[in-house]
């Protein structure tokens, strides 16, 4: 399965991969002109969920750290973006006409808290959507990866984090809007005019391409080789001179930053954010996309998120028990298709195979 060249940059251009990516991108560019409003918004959402799945794939599929906390990073980015949009509501669309968001008024706040106020400005909010989840992940990562704790314990810690933050956000009603979260936010504007849904779709598509390309580029480099080695045997690689914790913290923080960006884009689309996305149930969804799509495939989680989202959309018209389907699917994948749906594709179509350049066949390499 693992090909000979995972570990370094190619000297030749992977033509087949480029062709397939090009066609796929073209389809995604044409789609919005075919879609109705509902599908446009649904696909935008699914692309973001797919990006979130890719970010989890970096830490789970490649590095072997199973996290149920990626919904948390997503949501932290989402709240940063939600505060920005909420604080930029025009006075007459705000329930109380003033500057203060409605939920703060309900909970008896009289002034805007100092730590929320700066989010009114776009550059601050933009930085915050990335920096808040990344910083949180960095501190958490520093705390858990520089210790003897590993494997299942890390996963259980991520479950506890998700549970604790959910409770915390629900309880801090005055600052977070409690269970309802932050609703009725303004639309994202560019130069004073609101961005139409199709504009948002293309921003999100560009973001998805960015996440996929970045992740692919990183995992094709020596870094990818190191991450996969950490996954297979993290103790051994330390004796080759690598600081395992440093690599884990890096990929964990990067992944959280990407998840946070996805969350930041999710709010203008979804028009609200709430602790539902902090909860373990949503974190599980992300895990399921990666498990079903195929760990360590990058494209797999994206396709799984889109596929499951579309099926769910139609299934929910027929049945109320979509969750049951998801649970059965997860069980089947774990028990029978541990490498996910991507592993069912013909071998020639695997990402690893497509990105393999011809130049390094054994004979050539030996001659070098």
């Amino acid at each position: 399965m693992a090909n000979a060249v995972m570990g370094y940059k190619q000297s030749s251009f992977p033509t087949k991969l480029a062709a397939i990516s090009g066609i796929a991108l073209l389809i995604f560019i044409i789609l919005p002109f075919v879609f109705g409003d509902f599908q446009l918004s649904l696909m935008s959402k699914l692309l973001l969920f797919g990006s979130l799945g890719i970010s989890l794939d970096l830490v789970w599929g490649f590095t072997g750290i199973l996290s149920f906390a990626h919904g948390v990073f997503f949501t932290l980015g989402g709240y940063a973006s939600a505060y920005y949009l909420k604080l930029n509501l025009s006075a007459d669309s705000n329930t109380y006409g003033g500057e203060l968001p409605d939920f703060m008024v309900w909970n008896g706040l009289e002034t805007l808290p100092w730590f929320i106020a700066p989010l009114k400005y776009f550059p601050v909010a933009l930085v915050a959507t990335v920096a808040v989840p990344a910083l949180f992940a960095y501190i958490l990562g520093y705390f858990i990866f520089r210790s003897k704790v590993s494997g299942v314990y890390i996963t259980i810690i991520t479950l506890a984090i998700s549970s604790a933050l959910t409770t915390f956000f629900v309880s801090q009603q005055a600052y977070t809007g409690g269970t309802n979260g932050i609703t009725d936010v303004s639309k994202l504007s560019f130069l004073g005019s609101p961005i139409p849904p199709i504009g948002l779709y293309f921003i999100i598509l560009a973001f998805t391409v960015f996440v996929l390309a970045l992740s692919w580029w990183l995992t094709q480099s020596n870094l990818g080789l190191i991450l996969r080695s950490i996954n297979e045997n993290e103790k051994r690689i330390a004796f080759l001179g690598y600081d395992v914790a440093q690599f884990k913290i890096f990929i964990w923080t990067l992944s959280a930053a990407l998840a946070g960006m996805a969350g930041g884009l999710f709010v203008p689309l979804n028009q609200f954010i709430s602790p539902v996305y902090l909860a373990v149930a949503f974190g599980t969804q992300v895990v399921i996309w990666v498990a079903i799509g195929g760990r360590g495939t990058l494209v797999g989680p994206l396709l799984a998120a889109i596929l499951l989202g579309q099926v769910q959309n139609y299934a929910e018209k027929v049945t109320q028990d979509w969750q049951l389907v998801i649970g059965i699917l997860l069980l089947v994948v774990v028990l029978f298709i541990p490498n996910g749906l991507m592993s069912l594709l013909p071998k020639q179509l695997s990402l690893a195979n497509l990105s393999k350049p011809k130049v390094l066949q054994t004979s050539d390499a030996v001659k070098n």
Partner: protein
């Protein structure tokens, strides 16, 4: 999306106690509120002990990462509901059935899912999580998402007054049902410890967990021991569900609330000795009650969760070792 219910066993029991406390504390005795809160803590300890005990078997003894533990509690509660609803059975009488049904389901789960994944904790975690979703879905399919109510036996209702004011009204009291929960929890703990440390079945279990190959050579049917032990752990969860069903409403997602708490208890208490689950319940239950008294309940929960995370971080080997099963 799964149903989202941020409340927890702490929250509900706390609110219950809050009402009681407010009702009795009008005399203005702060000490009374404090004592009531401490008693409330004892009530939580009982629930934690009861719900944690099954996990102390499946995770503590067998080292199986079982995220479907909460659903076995839920199943136990539904068994009680069904028997009470259909035959008008007393809650106490339904307990053996709750044990039996959940134990059988547990055995089937071990046979079809867990067994394939021994030695692979992360996959087990994923599979049991999937199982948890499936069990919730199936129960919802059969019973709908509607809340169900289970009646406590009449002879266990009411409160035992411990301290009365001049007019004869109870200042400090503990409900009979809560005492019943503690009694059941302690009895089950005692029974389980007896089974594990004094019987040949217990010796076989310990032999298998300590050295599987050796146990096999000595003629222990390790597969049967695995299945039996897992089924027993699930059965205990079922009993917990049956007993707790009268405290709260019964609904498909109810197990999720208990899952996190049960895990915290087992992790805090340590997995090496069964008695650790009692220590964990006491520590978490009382810490939660005291912090909730000083601050408020959600804060208490966040603090306790954070403390558990720190605990895992610094004492993974003592409290939280997983031996690879081969």
């Amino acid at each position: 999306m799964l149903a989202f219910d941020p409340s927890s066993v702490f929250l509900s029991t706390y609110l219950l106690a809050q009402e009681e406390a407010e009702a009795v504390a009008e005399g203005g005795f702060d000490i009374v509120t404090l004592l009531n809160q401490a008693l409330n803590g004892v009530g939580i300890v009982g629930i934690l002990l009861l719900t944690g005990l099954g996990l102390a078997i499946t995770f503590g003894v067998m080292r199986i990462i079982n995220l479907a533990h909460g659903e076995f509690i839920m199943l136990g509660a539904y068994v009680t509901f069904v028997f009470q609803d259909a035959f008008g059975m007393d809650l106490l009488m339904t307990i053996p059935f709750a044990f039996l049904v959940t134990a059988i389901i547990g055995a089937v789960v071990e046979l079809t899912i867990i067994r394939r994944l021994y030695g692979n904790p992360l996959e087990t975690l994923l599979a049991t999580w999937g199982l948890s979703i499936v069990l919730q879905g199936v129960v919802k399919l059969i019973f709908t998402a509607q809340l169900k109510y289970v009646k406590a036996p009449p002879y266990l209702s009411g409160n035992l007054p411990l301290l009365s004011d001049d007019a004869g009204g109870a200042l400090i009291s503990i409900s009979y049902y809560r005492m019943f929960i503690i009694a059941v929890a302690l009895a089950l703990l005692g029974l389980t410890m007896y089974l594990f440390y004094k019987t040949s079945w217990g010796r076989q279990i310990r032999a298998v967990t300590q050295n599987r190959d050796m146990a096999k050579c000595l003629g222990v049917n390790t597969k049967l021991v695995d299945m039996g032990t897992f089924a027993y752990g699930c059965g205990l969860a079922g009993v917990a569900g049956a007993v707790i069903s009268a405290l709260k409403t019964v609904a498909p997602p109810m197990g999720q609330d208990y899952l996190v708490d049960a895990w915290m208890v087992v992790v805090t208490g340590g997995v090496d000795k069964l008695i650790g689950v009692l220590a964990g319940s006491l520590l978490i239950g009382e810490a939660n009650a005291v912090i909730a008294f000083i601050l408020n309940d959600p804060t208490a929960r966040v603090i306790v969760l954070a403390a558990v995370i720190v605990l895992i971080r610094y004492r993974p080997e003592g409290l939280f070792t997983i031996q690879k099963r081969s």
